[in-house]
Amino acid sequence: MAGYAVRRLLAAIPTLLFVSFVTFGLVRLAPGDPVLIVLGGKRISPELLVQLREKFGLVGDPVSQYIAWLGRAVQFDFGESYKLKQEVGDLILARLDTTVELVALSVLLAILIGIPLGVLQARRRESPVDYAGSFLAFVGVSSPVYFTAIIGILVFAVWLGWLPAFGSGEDPVDQLRHLILPAVALALGMIALTSRMTRSAMLEVLASDFIEAARAKGLPERTILVKHALRNALIPVLTVISLQVGFLVVGTVLVESTMGLGGLGSLITDAIQNRDYPVIQASVLLLTVLFILINLLTDLLYAVIDPRIRYT
């Protein structure tokens, strides 16, 4: 399995090269002039325009621009943001922990609430619990995340005063308090999806012959549910969750701007809006790496869950 993992990682390198090249080209083809945007609203002299174009590396043919960028990128030097005058690497690192904490907390909530909920719904199919769970799933999926966040702020910060309205907090405990509302807002949609997925996967597995056999053998219902049925149902659920995690890294952006959290989501979307090429390129690379790693991890987890799966 280790060899498999290593081969997967090596295969990632050409992917990264390809992605970086395509991003480089696409972003320069899009309309919008990064220099004008940086200077927007400010008086400029024609000299400054030329000056900045050179500084941003926007003169000369695209291919040599790309090669120059690549040369520095492999040394982890991603240049300086056009708009924010900070090193791109520093910008990303400063925001990485907020994003990681937010995504981890949301996924944890989704797993801890979504899976048991799905199991319960499958066990008590067509019962009030099942209908209630489905209704919650419906609300969770339909409610836009920024709307949920604002309602959360209104209820828990303004009316009840239990939680802070925005920001990220100082010490670790305070930080956790600040992350509850955004994580719940993000997790709602995921809980919905996870519980639906778990429910239908469980129903399918519970209807199979080996479950009937286990029941006939007299195994306790709890053992059947968790040790046998759930384990089989987990593969599709894991797939769904891993897809969600990938999107969540940037999907946090609406919650970030609503609640004043400095994460990768707002960095990337702002960069795209501002045609901040260095940030866009570095971020896309980072996201690609992340997606590759998540995919790899998911595939490896399949092998853990289902011993029949073997990688050579």
Binding site: R43, S45, L84, D90, G262
Partner: protein
Amino acid sequence: MRLLSPWPRLMALSTMAIVATAALLPAAAVAQEPQMGGSIVAVIEGEPTSVDPAFDYDFVSGLATSSITEPLLKFCEGDTALCPNLATDWTVSEDGLTYTLTIREGVKFHDGTDMTVEDVVFSLNRVRDPELGSYVGWMLGNVADVTAPDDKTVVITMSQPDALLEYALASTAAHVVSKAFVESAGEDYGTPGVGSLGTGPFKFVEWVSGDHQTLARNDDYWDKANGGPYLDEITIKILPEPTTRVAGLDTGEIDYLVNNVPSDQYETVRSFDNVNLTFAPSFYGEWITFNTQLPPFDNVQVRQALNYATDKAGLRALYWPETPDTKATLVYPTMWTFEKEAWQAAWDELPAYDQDLEKARQLLDESGVADQLNGMTISYYESTPSMKGIAESFIDSMAQLGITIEANKTTYQENIAQQFGAHDDYDIFVGSWGSDFPDPSGNLRPNFGSENIVAGGANASAYSNPDVDALLQEQNTLTDKAERAKLLIEAQGIIAAESPLISVSNPGWPLATNKRVQGAEIGPLWYWGSLFKHVWVTE
């Protein structure tokens, strides 16, 4: 537990008695004397660009930057005049080509080193250096050289006279930075990891990128005679969403919010009993314009008709109920910083183009090209709710004239490209502009000078009138304020008659503070000065 000695019990009882009495005493009248100490949380809507003053030319970077470093002069008297700051005195030669400044002695940087004329010369030359690419370098565009003939004086020589130079000396273009600090920091100067070193009322403590900036009081600040600084610490947090900013004011998590109060929630903010909402006069306004070189907008009757069609009074009543009426000019009464009487007299004569649909219809008919307007678009970017409101109101007014105008909601970058590009990729455009300086020319030259039509300029009307150009250029070379006023007023008059732009409003700058915050007052140019020097808190 039984006490063996009577003294502890006696102590406890008497302490309780004292505390109880104190609690029962009526609360002392709220002390109006500023108190030292305390901290506040201020909020901005996006990540600051830098704390290097050379790159501070927006509305978010300055909260930190302008309290850390300071300019040679400062705006005072409600931001309409110039006062000494790090320069105690300044004189201009007769021909306007030499500025002599006396530099204040005994000023220290936050690390204890002395501020010298070398630092001043370094700071000004640094901003002028094209290599740096400073956003405010253009303000020193007519400067030929900066030298220090002795250790108390700095001399600025000009390549040509520039009436706006003295204002530049109160902006971030003239902030004095520490030569030693900047040279050792190199490229990283002004970034979160390094920060900035200045002489200002507050010191840079930290900047966590994407999250917040922290400043601490400078106990050795040179200007404590006029009061302040009082606060121990200021935290500036980043919060892009307007509604959450309003919520934060309500919960008390936000003590200080300038400019970024959403205009459609003023009533809500006013209703919070722990918040004060005030408005300062501004040099800023919102307007509608079109490219006056492209048909049918090249026809003056069409332009005047559109001006008569717009319901400015209605918009003002909706968004800015307490602001005064506007007239067909961008030189608002707040900008009459010299020759007030002359400007007032001119104002009385200016047309207002109050909404008059009959007149609009008549002018359109006379022009004969009204049908070209059908199907045109009005572009706007919803930076504030009023921009959208202006577009919608305009569409409505035109509909009443039987003309269909479509709305074109743009993104931020499209808006920038429209307002500062070649000015030829929109039909009708909703825009805004505010002068950097307390000088009427700041709202005329950038918007109506023909040299500003090309990309990089702000002449969104593509207005080109050689008479106006001559007037605007000439007034900039003069130092006699009465003469300048004459020329500017003449230019204003021509522009008003030609109606290249529909002036809608001159809203004030909102400032929302928690009731515990005292001494917070802002002027039209709040973004150029330290907001926090006089601020103190009652608890």
